[in-house]
Symmetry: D2
Subunit: 133 residues, 4 copies
Amino acid sequence: MIQTRAQVTVRYAETDMMGIVYHGNYLPWFEVARTQLLKEQGFPYRQLETDGYRIPVLEVGARFLRPALYDDLLIVVATIREKPLLRIRIDYEVFREGELLATGHSAHAFCDKTGQPTRPPAAFVAKMKEAFK
Amino acid sequence: MIQTRAQVTVRYAETDMMGIVYHGNYLPWFEVARTQLLKEQGFPYRQLETDGYRIPVLEVGARFLRPALYDDLLIVVATIREKPLLRIRIDYEVFREGELLATGHSAHAFCDKTGQPTRPPAAFVAKMKEAFK
Amino acid sequence: MIQTRAQVTVRYAETDMMGIVYHGNYLPWFEVARTQLLKEQGFPYRQLETDGYRIPVLEVGARFLRPALYDDLLIVVATIREKPLLRIRIDYEVFREGELLATGHSAHAFCDKTGQPTRPPAAFVAKMKEAFK
Amino acid sequence: MIQTRAQVTVRYAETDMMGIVYHGNYLPWFEVARTQLLKEQGFPYRQLETDGYRIPVLEVGARFLRPALYDDLLIVVATIREKPLLRIRIDYEVFREGELLATGHSAHAFCDKTGQPTRPPAAFVAKMKEAFK
């Protein structure tokens, strides 16, 4: 299992007229945690793009249990539970002081610059092999 | 079945450095189609809020098949396939010139101003009864 | 003078917890009108980018007179008042049923792919010469 | 002079197809710094809203000198240079490792829940008097 905990503070821009965070604004938070997870594993996404890789989002989902509010300090936990093969699945949980506000997941595949599926870098494959042995 | 077809033109703001639309920006498009669907059924969401109702998003999901690009003219089809009971489920399909780019769904429940689940307005229940008889 | 009138319907995603449109969300509307203006003049921005040009925003400003609300149908007027030389200045006015809600402006320069200032395409220069003679 | 330095890391969602941050996305960063500045002065905006105040944006402006990129760690400096009377003016500077990327400003006024201009809370007036004596 690979996991990271990212911090996010809710921006006013992320709220809507219901007085809570607009549901679509959780997706960039998932991305913040994903960016941190890849960086901690030694694969900053910015470097991956420079090296010619893209990891587009193939699928995303989220469930909203309790509303997040302006200026809340949130923890976004991102977890890879299974060894990524062709697909990388990441699960997310959003907490405020230990209270679970939302869950989600995303699925990704390594692509080249033209958007065609491609093999992940060898170092990434090796790292995942080690993490999930 | 209740269905509507909303038009959206992709904004530059909605693209990301991959050169395509950022996945999170499909969710506001689903919302555009949802707004139109409710309005066509006689229940403008703005009026519903004035009347004290909220219809928060409980769950959302999307699959991305082909990228949408800046200035693309898209059709977002929103469909209610089953008579809504406690939950309203809406399905979405995003097309560009007949080509399916993405699918998605959202689930909602009628709530009062405080966020507590409540019965939909009687007129809404009657309308759904008629539509799905 | 070159002018266009673009239509925008306010999305729920564009509101904030003050119950009105978040001020930052006017900027994509300015961009919608700008896109339409360039297209009407025969220079779709998407084509300009394909041809190797970029027209980044150098400066932007806005004044907010009255709030825009969810589901409002707005008219965004974009105007080039002076013949663009090195800089292109565009002014914006946002109306709801004839009522002025906001004004703004943006300044742009033609650049190449690397972000270096460059001459506009000859056809653009000719078109502006004709429009402002 | 009242000043704060807020940290922002650029999200992928904030970039556009030009490969840099979309200009409109600097405005939420200004807001992040503004939120921090008010909090440090003892007036968390969330509390101000609870107390019945609103501080809408009357005017905003920004100049973009150098592009910000995905995953950049930025410092957003927010400064109140003059004692706020009816209007509060805040200036912003966005830095990446000491390099100035953008400048901006916003103007605000205290309003009540209905959007009518009102006097700031007495404690705020006292605090500003002290800061700018």
